[in-house]
Structure formats: C-alpha cells, structure tokens
Subunit: 414 residues, 2 copies
C-alpha cells in the first residue's frame, strides 16, 4: 500500500468540483461541492446518532437504505439545513434534483443520472433556511467544471472553520489489480465520538459488493472516526459516505477473505489519517493529542478510556497550557464508566523527541517539569496509559482547548 495524490478523484472514474454559490454572506471561497462517478457505485453510509437529524441526513440515509447505490454526492458548507422543517426537507431534495438534471443535460457527462442516485450533505449553522436557489443558479457551473483536478476545489468547498483541507488517497493490490481509495473530510467543531465527523467522503474503484462495503465501513469507523473528539458535541449532520464503482476490475469482493482484509486495511489506514487530521485541526487547536491505552481487558474498554481522556475539558486545557497535569488524566479515566485498578496504572507523555513517565503503578513520579514543558510544546503529544488488566489496546485522537475555540464558538453564527 502506498500514499498517492488526488483525494476523492484518485480512484478511476471519479471526478469532482467546487464552486462558490454564495450560501453564506461574506464567504469568498467555494461552498458547494460535487463528486461524480462515471459508473453507478455500490455505496454505504454512517450517520449521526443525534435524535435531531439534519434534512440532508434524513434524505441520504433513506436513499441508501432503499438502494445501496449512488453516482454523485452534492455537499454544501455555510448552512447545515438542520431544524428547518418541511422547507428544509424540500431544499435537500431540490439540491439532488438540480444536480441530477444538470448532470443529465450535460454533454460532457453524456448519460442520464437518476435523482435517487444523488446523495446530499450540508454543514454549517443550524436553524436557518438554506437558500437553495443560489445552489440551483450555480449548478451548471459546478457540473461543467467536474475534473480529476477538481478534488482541490471540492475539498475546499466543504470546509467551515477548518484551517486545513483534509484528504488522503492510497493505492494497493487486490486480486492482482491495482485498487485505489481516496477520501476528503471536513471537521473542526461539533465533533464527538458517535460517528465523529461532520462530513467525510470516500471513493474507491475497488469492486466490492454493497454488503461487504457496508461491513467494511462500519468495522473501520469503530477504531477511527468513532475515536475522535474535538468538543464532545455530536452534530446533527455527521455523515460518512463511501462510493465504490468497481472500475479497478478486481474480482468482486463478496465475502471475508484476503481481498476483503486488504481492502479493510487500506480503508482503516485512510480513515486513521483523516481522524488524526480532524482532531489536529479541531477548532482553535494548537496540539493534536493522541491517547493510547495498553493492557486493557478488551479493545472497547481501551478505546473508551482513551476517548474519556481526550474528551476532558480539563485535560484539554492543561495541554493548551503545556502543563503536565497528569492527575486530570487519571480523573478522566475514572469517570469513563470502565472499571480498572488505579494502583496498576502507569502514565507517560511522549512525542517524537522522547518519553517522560509521570505516574507509576498508582504513585506519582518525580519528573523534570522543564523537560515536560518542552515535550508538551510539540504540535503532536502522545499520552500513553498502561494498565495491567489484559492485553488489548486502543487509541483516541483529540486536541487542546484554547482561547481560539471559545472565540470561534462564541461568535460563529453572527
């Protein structure tokens, strides 16, 4: 497996684009993205578990549930189209209809695209009506600009408070054929561990049945997106979609086996990369926190403990202050809901430059505070927790809590 360029358009048959429709006043960069596959794809999705679901989430979930197919995804930033009632539901339908009509009428595309094969996602402020007419006005421009290079505009169009675009692509072998997976995501705020991102799109030219695609996606999400937290808020709009068009012409993966495992490994890799990017670019974040718990009784327990640590406001604030306040880590583990013996716990901080043990089998270690401060000044900081409860380990990704987070979220809407 190797990293390649190209994001969502890296796999064969996928093109993308982004344009500025003008959804939110003042925005000067693209706000509407389109991903298109020249062949209809098997598709699967994971959605927010929030009881309050955005209108595009309801529509996309319904379409995938009925058909497990997709050929295009239209997405906008600047407005979440959530808590918008019937008018919002209609706006989501209009987005997919506009895309299907424009694609079908385009000489460039040269084929009919079914409205039911277009999925839709929105991200941005909750509770304001989406000005869908501006998207309709720009839809032909969006379609005509579709290209292999268009992943750059598409990845830009889904960003809100993100400071960096997030994409990744890999190439690997399945059944003697070269297969590619590409992905892009937006993260930043309102991100927590039930699903764990606002929007993420994965494309692949791998031939894989809907059933195995769905299985792979759910399996991969558990240890990747579901282990990310920026602020403990599970959004109304979280959506992770995967589209597989089969153009790599590998023998179709229809059951578990070496091919499926190879695909899953690559999928886990790209999802892990994106999980790290989303956490590291959390709203206002200065540090990426990577907490690994080893020696837990099972994987779920290890992950729950790691998630509790990187979700704690006090832990997050301490890392912002470069303060080796490890007591808060123990405290956060203690209210995770997992049982463990505090007397068997050891904690270290680590990064590329070294490792400092601060707590050893239930007792504080007398460590060098100045060295710790230097270690905690790095962009990426590791928190290593050793239990003696079993053999399992798990990792979660988070970020520090900063003035900037408060600033961004104290004045986001207006």
């Amino acid at each position: 497996m190797q990293l390649i360029d190209g994001g969502v358009t890296a796999p064969q048959g996928f093109i993308a684009n982004g344009v500025l429709s003008g959804i939110k006043s003042g925005r000067t960069k693209e706000d509407t993205a389109l991903i298109f596959s020249e062949k209809v794809c098997n598709s699967a999705g994971v959605f927010t578990q929030n009881v309050v679901k955005a209108e595009p989430v309801k529509l996309t979930r319904l379409r995938l549930k009925n058909r497990h197919k997709a050929q295009a995804v239209i997405a906008n930033s600047g407005n979440a189209n959530a808590c918008t009632g019937e008018q919002g539901a209609w706006a989501a339908v209009r987005m997919t209809r506009a895309a299907a009509n424009s694609l079908s009428n385009s000489e460039k595309i040269g084929m009919k695209v079914d409205e039911d094969d277009v999925l839709v996602c929105s991200t941005g402020v909750i509770g304001q009506q989406l000005p869908v007419e501006v998207i309709e006005e720009h839809i032909d421009e969006l379609v005509e600009g579709l290209s292999k290079e268009g992943h750059e505009k598409a990845r830009q169009a889904i960003m809100t408070t993100d400071t960096q675009f997030k994409e990744c692509a890999v190439e690997f072998e399945v059944g003697g054929k070269t297969v590619r997976i590409g992905t892009m995501a937006k993260g930043s705020g309102m991100i927590h561990i039930n699903m764990g991102t606002m929007l993420s799109f994965i494309t692949t030219d791998c031939a894989i049945s809907s059933e195995m695609l769905e299985k792979a996606l759910h399996s991969s999400v558990e240890g990747t997106y579901n282990c990310v937290s920026v602020d403990g808020d599970t959004s109304t709009n979280d959506t992770l979609l995967i589209l597989a068009n089969g153009m790599a012409e590998n023998p179709e993966i229809t059951s578990d086996g070496p091919d499926y495992q190879e695909f899953l490994k690559a999928l886990n890799f790209v999802n892990t990369q994106m999980a790290r990017k989303i956490a590291g670019d959390g709203e206002g974040a200065e540090h990426l926190l990577v907490c690994t718990v080893q020696g837990a009784k099972d994987v779920q327990s290890a992950r729950n403990l790691a998630k509790s640590v990187i979700s704690s406001s006090l832990v997050k604030a301490a890392f912002f202050g470069k303060d080796a306040n490890w007591g808060r880590i123990l405290c956060a583990m203690g209210y995770s809901g997992e049982l463990f013996d505090p007397q068997k716990v050891s904690v270290s901080f680590s990064n590329s430059k070294g490792c400092i043990k601060v707590y050893d089998h239930g007792n504080p270690v007398d460590f060098d505070e100045d060295n710790a401060k230097i270690l905690l000044s790095e962009k990426e900081v590791g928190i290593l927790v050793l239990l003696e409860e079993g053999e399992a380990s798990g990792t979660a990704w988070g970020c520090d809590l900063t003035y900037e987070y408060v600033k961004i979220n104290g004045d986001y809407r207006t």
Copy 2:
C-alpha cells in the same frame, strides 16, 4: 421557612474555623477548615462516582459506612490528596488524628473526640503529596479559634478558584420546634453531574435518624447537585456531607411523614441555592445558565435533556458570545440519549426582563437578534424547552465557556 445568616454554624451546637496552614505556596488566605458539633451527629454522605477516588474520600466513606456518625469535619484546599498512594492514605488519617487529639486536649472543647468521628475532605491539585505536617502544626490554632462566627473563615478555607464563597442557611418548624439547616460549599472546576460538587457540608440541629438522613440526602441530591455541570469533569474528590446533631429537640424523624417532608423541602431549598451558586461561579463563568425542560415523559428524562444542554461546550461558548444560537440547544438535546419528537419542540430564552421564542414546534422563529442580545447579556439566562411528550419537568444549572476558563485551567497546577 426563612433564610437566615450563619452558614454551617447557624444550627445549634455547631462551631467552625479556618486557618492558613500553608499547604500550597503563595496562598495568603485560609486553607484549612474545621466544623465541630458539641454533640455527636447522625451523618450521611454522597461521594464521587469516579473510579479514581481521593484518599480522604476513601477514608470518610469507610467511616460513615461503619458508623453513620460524625462530630467534626476537617477539610483543606490546595491539594486534593488524590493519586498519592499509601503515603496519601496515611496523610488523610493523620489529618483526622490531629484534629481529634487537638479537640480532645482543648479546654475550650472539654470533651474527648473520637478519631473515627472526624471526617476529612481535600480539594486542589491531583497527584502531589499532601504536606500534612503543616496542617498538624496549625491544628491547635484551628481548634482554639472555633466559634459561631468561624463559618466565615471556614467557607473561605475551602475555596480554590472560586471567586465567591457559597453558603446558605434556613430556619423552619418541625414538630413545633425551630429547626435550622446550614451549608457551605466550594465549586468552580471539575464539576459534573455525577454528584456535582467538589466539597459541600450541611449542618442541621434537626433530630433525624441516620436512615432518614441518608434517604433525604440522596433524594435531594438527584434534583440539585446532580443537575449542575461546569465542565463535564467528575472530580476524584466530590464529597457532600450532612451532620445532624438533634439539638433542636424536635421529635426525632424516623419515618416518612409531614416532618420528614418539611425537612426535605428545606434541604432541597438550600441545595438548590448552592447548585445555582456553584454553577454561576463556575471557573471563568460570566453567565449562570438555567435550563428548564417542561412537558417531558418523566422527571429523569427532563433532567437528562436539561443537563445535556448546559453541558455542551458549543452551547456554553454561544452564551459567552451572547449569541442566540438555539440550534446548538436542539443538537445537545438530540445526543442526550433521550428520545423525543423534534417536531414537537419549542425553545425560548428568558430572564427577569422578558422572554423570546426562537423555535416553535420544529420550525425556526424569526426573532429580533438585537433584543436577544440584550436578553443574553444578563448575568442569569434562562433556557426554556417545551416538549409535548408528557407532564414532567426538570432543571439543570450550568455556566458559559469563557477565555478565562481556558486560562485558569491551562495554568492551574504550576
């Protein structure tokens, strides 16, 4: 029932004091508190549910479990005595032993005080050994200064990042006798809804059996302390203690009935007052948030929804920015774990000056943003959520998320 002065020394037979032992360098105010009752009290406690428990929590819990009695409480700020191993366990014992010895040797007290009747609490930084010898050095000064006025020094001695002391006392009638309840607490940070305060002490001269005292305390905590959140972190040190010395000479309350209900009503009142004070003085807080959910299917559901709202970082940051971003309230309700129909929800903001409806039966309301900004500028802001699922209601108390919170917690330890 009427409010009276005096905090924990308002009930008959209770005296208190606070001194500066010098537990944490740089502190110039009292850091060690003592509450004493001239008669041995029936006593009950509620403790942190964190798996990692501070040493004084373990000791106090054990003593109450064995005997349900107490005559004195010694408490310190500046050091939590948590994650400190055997040395910490021994330090907690030494605090109670020093207090018992000094009380027993004091001519002023004039009676033997059993070490097992002294309870102990600590609050402050986790993971540093408690310098118990400085407390031992100042224990006679602490005992000799015990007085009715000493509640003022005691309430000061338990404060950490609190900006205001928190105390309350009431007087009411039980069985033809005047009964008093007094309380003091410290709050501020690492405060969440499992227990919900770091340290709180309640004294009463009411005659009430251990069993009914325990029942009353647990019943009252559910709708008061357990509905407070400052930052979602459940401390290792949370302790709520009640001491009842029976000196009001009312007929002892030994079962449910009008006397018990009168006592419970007063206890709920003082605990609610303290819950509000703790939330309003959350670390860095500029606003007290009071979220009331009405029309829920049951009380627990109403409280869970209200807690989820006031615990959300994004809701908290929006109130800091005086931004009427009600979508985040819906979002937080949606991931609370409670089921409800979003189409039946209405949301209003309110304070002493008025009420603004922002969401009505699943649809956004076109409200005046300027008026909303004025309303949200008040110190106390109400969030009123109406469901149409049933008849139950519940309230939770929280505060906004501010730069100051991040500042305090980015540099608390050093």
